[in-house]
């Protein structure tokens, strides 16, 4: 019995995006309703899929019923179900926030948003590496449109860098995929894993080169140093709901690194085994340090948040870089927290910025914001969650990550940099908060021309997306036990490629894999 719900997160945004394009010249309310109902439906589907995968096997969906490995296959395991769910929830709230005015700046915002979801969901679901390229391109092409949404010189300049870098990245991705296909003769990721384990030693150098070429591309998507310099500009200058949605885009890179290097280049992979163990941890730690330096050195709340995205990627990949089951589980616990909280911070920063018409989110003294208590509380909650202080989810996720990496050789570095980075984050956010809320210019300062500008007053409808995003943090703590259990089960499926291969290719195909490692 094939579970047709699996293609729902792909077909729904595709269909709705097309319908929205047909409604381009209709009143914007219609596009908003279509977009929001699509996001809501995807959320319902992904929650059902999450519960199905939580206590079920890995499910596959064979498009066109072509026998694997010849056709394209969609694979739903616990990790991809969780990523789909995170994306759906985040996109619903971001779209609700955008529907308060951001979407008026361009006609095609809602259509692009749906195609963006198609690309992201596709990247999480696909089990075919060339299909992954196609979904990356769908994701990128819509993200180009969304980054530039609203226009303006700074956005155009940042967008141009983003587009050109990613075009080069796509070319390199194809080279990597081409080498893999030329040597292994397949594109199905499970089949690639089996054939990689049987690859002759004379192809070792080329296969490893292909693996590292692909790593460079995924590192560009995930924004690992030295491929992260596009991110602060692109995320810092684009509109807030788009930046908040893009908090999950770097996680696509993280997900793909985890998926590909635990499957195709796993410990059973023969000549490709353990390809990333020497690279991922140091690269991630340097990224974490660079992100922390950026957070401490920025003079603008939006840029601080953009660097927080880099820090979260560095933290995740450093923990994943140990390639141990417990550490991967801890990273899976940290992933929803960091995605939702950085997204919430982008929205809070935008709410603050719109009430400071002269300096926006810049950290210079200005007149007080219109609703200081409300915005102050939102900012404080976001800062506590991101900084990793006790009552909220950041603290527990970080403790779990630090406890699970103690056996790894890189443990002192991970501990030092995660804790040091957390301290710098707290200092930077504390300073940002004190400048914005306390270091005020007198309201009636004559001669500056600043007393005239009117500021919007927020109603609950403006605030609820940010409040709900922040409300996820205590929920992650309350349901911490369930989530941790789920994360361990998800890590089991990710870290051991045999489950994935058996689900895709059938029960006996993982046999060569075990033989090659001298196992059972």
């Amino acid at each position: 019995m094939i579970n047709h719900l699996i293609v729902g997160p792909l077909l729904l945004p595709l269909l709705m995006g097309t319908i929205i394009i047909l409604n381009t010249n209709q009143p914007i309310a219609r596009r908003r309703i279509l977009g929001l109902s699509s996001c809501l439906a995807i959320l319902v589907i992904t929650i059902i899929l999450l519960f199905q995968s939580a206590d079920g096997p890995i499910q596959t969906y064979v498009l066109g019923d072509w026998p694997t490995p010849f056709g394209i296959v969609m694979v739903l395991d616990r990790l991809s179900a969780m990523m789909l769910c995170i994306t759906a929830l985040l996109s619903l709230l971001c779209l609700a926030y955008a529907a308060r005015g951001t979407d008026r700046q361009g006609k095609n915002f809602h259509a692009l948003f749906q195609f963006q979801l198609l690309g992201i969901n596709g990247a999480f679901l696909t089990g075919d590496i060339f299909n992954l390229f196609v979904f990356f391109e769908i994701m990128l092409l819509s993200s180009y449109g969304l980054v530039l949404h609203g226009g303006g010189g700074l956005r155009t300049r940042a967008g141009m860098h983003y587009v050109m870098l990613n075009l080069v990245g796509s070319s390199i991705f194809l080279v990597g995929v081409g080498i893999l296909y030329a040597l292994l003769g397949t594109l199905n990721m499970a089949d690639l894993a089996v054939r990689m384990s049987q690859a002759p030693a004379e192809n070792a150098a080329l296969l490893q080169a292909a693996g590292l070429i692909l790593f460079a591309v995924f590192a560009l998507k995930a924004a690992l140093l030295p491929l992260c310099f596009w991110l602060p500009d692109a995320y810092g200058f684009t509109s807030a709901p788009v930046a908040a949605l893009f908090a999950v885009m770097t996680k696509v890179g993280v997900y793909v690194i985890l998926r590909v290097y635990c499957l195709i280049f796993s410990e059973y992979a023969g000549v490709g085994a353990g390809l990333l163990t020497a690279w991922l941890l140091p690269a991630a730690l340097i990224t974490l340090a660079a992100g922390a330096a950026g957070v401490a050195g920025s003079r603008d709340l939006r840029r601080i948040t953009a660097y927080l995205v880099i820090m979260s990627v560095g933290t995740l990949l450093a923990v994943i870089g140990t390639f141990q089951r417990e550490a991967v589980a801890a990273a899976i616990v940290y992933l929803p927290h960091t995605t939702f909280m950085t997204a919430a911070m982008f929205l809070v920063a935008d709410l603050i910025g719109r009430q400071r018409p002269h300096t926006v989110t810049g950290l210079v003294p200005d007149r007080p914001v219109g609703q200081p208590t409300l915005l102050g509380l939102l900012f404080l909650t976001a800062a506590v969650a991101i900084g990793g202080l006790p009552p909220l989810s950041g603290f527990f996720a970080k403790v779990m990550m630090l406890m699970t990496v103690t056996d790894s050789a890189g443990a002192p570095w991970i501990w030092g940099l995660v804790l040091g980075g957390g301290l710098l984050t707290l200092i930077a956010l504390g300073r940002a908060g004190s400048v914005i809320f306390w270091k005020l210019l007198p309201a009636d300062d004559p001669g500056t021309g600043r007393e005239t500008a009117p500021v919007p007053v927020y109603t609950p409808a403006d605030l609820f997306p940010a409040v709900l995003l922040l409300g996820i943090s205590p929920l992650l703590v309350i349901f911490g036990g369930v989530i941790t259990e789920f994360a361990f089960a998800a890590a089991d499926h990710v870290i051991n490629p045999v489950h994935y291969i058996e689900a895709v290719l059938g029960p006996d195909r993982s046999f060569p894999l075990l033989l090659s490692s001298g196992g059972e």
Binding site: L141, G153, S171
Partner: protein
């Protein structure tokens, strides 16, 4: 033959990289296009170099041309074409908004 094709690929990638590193949008776009062509050629080559092989499997033939790289390269060409079209439009818009064709938006220094 293999020597010739791989030299072609190498030269195209080298020229592409050189052009992508230029400071004006026009050469950068040319470089991206050239890299795209080189990569398409590379994908095409993943089916190996053959001549006179049939593309339809039959019982009398033991060797045949691999059809998959041709499908892949078609997909890559279409996507690459869309991307280049987009980046051309984007750089025209950047020229309008930033008033310069420098990739970092630097203004022209006045001639001294």
């Amino acid at each position: 033959m293999e020597w010739l094709v791989s030299t072609c690929f190498g030269v195209m990638i080298a020229c592409g990289v050189y052009l992508v590193l230029r400071a004006r949008t026009f050469p950068v776009i040319l470089g991206l296009t050239l890299m795209g062509y080189a990569v398409n050629l590379f994908l095409f080559l993943t089916g190996r170099l053959h001549t006179n092989l049939p593309d339809i499997i039959s019982s009398s033939q033991t060797r045949y041309a691999d059809p998959l790289p041709q499908a892949l390269v078609l997909t890559a060409i279409v996507i690459g074409f869309a991307m280049i079209a987009f980046v051309v439009v984007l750089s025209l818009r950047a020229l309008g908004e930033l008033d310069t064709d420098h990739v970092d938006g630097h203004k022209e220094k006045p001639p001294s």
